[in-house]
Amino acid sequence: MSKILRVENVTKRFGGIIAVKNVSFEVDEKEIVAIVGPNGAGKTTLLNIINGFVKPDEGRIYFRDRDITGLPPYKIAQLGISRTFQTPRPIHRLRTVFNIIVPLVSPRIKRTTGWFGDELVRAIDILEEVGFERDSEYLWKPAGLLPHGYLRRVELARALALRPELILLDELFSGLSSPEVRSIIPLLLKLRDRGLTLIMVEHRVKDVSEIADRVIVLHKGEKIEEGDPETVLKSERVLRVYLGGR
């Protein structure tokens, strides 16, 4: 399998603090990779670097062997990397369906699908895919009025609307009840089967052990462990980080 994303020796400092320190990893196509670590481990910064919000001080990022380091976020998105945010950021005053139309008018959609149909129908299709009822009144409410769990799904729908090849999910499960988490997991697996690659950032290894093919553990900006969920859970260094010590 070819590598869809290569992160090479990425380092980012904010003043004196090193947020991400010499991190390298590769992601295969159709893989679900989880990046876990305690608070302040640099997980979100790493996502921000991949998606272009933050420029790394050192290191390179390759998407399908194309150097994307330092490209503006919208260009990276147009190449096929979309993301969700840790705190859902809907466009509050717009109705939920209109939230999904925004990515649908991006040049990527016109280029990759040559599709000029009714954006509204397409937006409702996508929202249905992430678990909204087709005739639900939530679709027509301003997105700011939606409950938290629904906002996560709107975030996911917005990311999917771009027809991405790689999705960065920033703590998708945080703030969700376990039934809600369990209802999203099949959806993520379905996306993977459809050919998408997923990078998930989560707090705990346990949350992602069910679906992740590979887990990368960050601590204080450094990669301390990488492997399938079981081995990572047993790793002594990881246990030390999570159970205190060091």
Partner: protein, 347 residues
Amino acid sequence: MKSRKESNKNIRTIRKERLDRGARARSKDLYVLMSYEDIAYVILPRVLPPLILLAFPFIVRDTYWHMVFFLAGYYAVASMSWDLLGGFTGLVSFGHSLFIGFGGYFTAILNVWYGVPIWLSIPIGTLAGAAMGTLIFAPCLRTKGVYFSLVSLVAPLVMVGSILAFAEITGGEEGIYGLENPLTELQWYYIMAGLVLLTFLILRKIAYSNFGLVLQAIRDNEPSVKVSGINPVRYKVTALFISGLFASLVGSLQAHKLSFVGPSYFYLSISVGIITMSVLGGVATIIGPAIGAYILTILTEWLRWLGGLRMLLYGVILLILLNFKPEGIYRYLERTYQTFERQVVEE
């Protein structure tokens, strides 16, 4: 069963129902018209205002009021175009008079210095004015929120200084006189009235298209727009140019009507007036700013006999309105309109 139905028929309960609920099916634009009342409810608010605007010169024959309405239209077009920026894109510009001034000056230079006829000087002057204004504002787009407002506030002031500095081309303090003005007061009135209607239709179309959706998304949440693969700067520049076109056109028309342009076209009071009217009428509604413009301009003329006290009263009225109806007049009217009730007989 039959007996209950019979008895119900005899009771004939009367229920109140919101008029728009009955007339309007689930979809927003689909109406089921059942009576003349329904038809009037749907059509009158849409048809009456433009009709009044077009019939006004026949109702009031005083040329003075035609001129007042021209001025109101001038502000209405300018503040509707401001609304696309300030209301929809979140670029609260305090320097919208920059476009008006550029439109006026380019038209005047073309018409007076180069002898370009009026039917060419207006479109060329408008385009040039909008382009020039966009060129000046575009670098300011890197700043956001209050910072953009501050930067946009300075731009027209700088232009006033430049006009005084390049007096050979711009006429300096005296401005440029002697623009061609072949039209009568009544013709100008109709040109402006038509422009107000046209501007409203075009801007509303733009604001509620997918393009307008993206603009609103940029206003509320720019990072989310960026990760959706859209370049916000491109959209903002386009919005600036479209908005600038209308403001610039208004300046250009004004220049021909008055046969004069001067530094006053760039004055801060015009920009502030535009914002006041927009806020009064209701931001992010397109029609709201136009309502605000007509109300404030007419009010200003009415209160002329008060002299200096006029501005005081004007301020008090504004304060009261903004305190009690902060969402703007249009939103208030819209809500009132939707609460009209009718009595429905249940059988």
